[in-house]
Symmetry: C2
Subunit: 153 residues, 2 copies
DNA sequence: CTCCATGCAAAAGGTTTGCACTCCC
DNA sequence: GGGAGTGCAAACCTTTTGCATGGAG
């Protein structure tokens, strides 16, 4: 009953938890609640927020475990670290569908956006065969409608 | 004699220090060494590295002053904060010529790259008139030639 | 002369680590 | 049963802040 959400359109993907099981990841209560906390798409939690969510379900869990586990998941490539400037790192569980981030410099709200046909970004030719490209991180910085209004008080 | 370097091709720019003077920025010994430490293009120092360089020339300078000053320069738009994942923030003094960053996940080396004609990045149409875009941050992650070699030991 | 910038030191995050103990496979 | 995962607490690293002093304009 927690299985049938997220089974929509996208690349026949599965939940983070399922992918980890399939990988033979050693599964514990802590790891389960962490993976579940990272659950949805369009979520960009800090380690501390993951800890908070995980604590709801498993009060004995420790911060260290959360940090360790997030680092491990990032190393496995199952989540992505995104450094959105101010404060703590954030973790993005959407690794299946390529996307970019849109961040409001006013309120800090972060959204996923998906490239449309007009975008075409490439590593400059000069570098292309000297450097092995793994991924491209793109962040659009600006002001959301609310904050544009507030700015001109 | 510190004036005639950097007077080449680019947009008739000037040193960071000159721009700040022109702006009427209150100038002190500390601020001067910090601005000079941030000097060249293609440099991406952490606050602590700036502190180290500044200390060479002005041993009494304090870390707090470095942090305060870097924050102020960033607010003025004269340098840019770049969050390149691991560890401390880095500061980029190249604000005149648009460029992107190339980071090796092996050794952490960071280089500036300049977009060529093949790249064309736009905020998706869906967002274009809801969001006020200020700047786009692009980071290419991968492995430099040295680290590709080392990886396959 | 008047602010603003500075130094110092303490505190406030955020993250990692060492070690003994637990429990998944 | 063995080794990986966990909790706790302390350490570490980075950055910010309060307050008294000093120097630029």
């Amino acid at each position: 009953m927690a299985t049938d959400r997220r089974m929509r359109g996208a690349t026949k993907s599965s939940t983070l938890l399922e992918r980890l099981k399939r990988r033979g990841w050693r599964l514990t209560a802590q790891r389960r609640v962490i993976a579940e906390a990272m659950g949805g798409a369009h979520v960009h939690l800090t380690a501390d927020e993951v800890f908070a969510r995980a604590s709801d379900r498993l009060p004995e869990i420790s911060r260290a475990t959360v940090y360790n586990t997030l680092n491990e998941l990032a190393k496995l490539g199952e989540i992505t670290e995104v450094a959105l400037g101010s404060g703590a790192k954030r973790y993005d569980p959407e690794t299946v569908n390529r996307h970019q981030h849109l961040v409001c410099e006013g309120c800090g709200i972060t959204r996923d956006v998906h490239p449309d046909g007009e975008s075409r970004l490439a590593l400059p030719v000069a570098e292309r065969d000297r450097f092995t490209l793994n991924r491209v991180e793109i962040v659009f910085w600006g002001l959301c409608p609310k904050c544009v209004g507030a700015a001109r008080t």
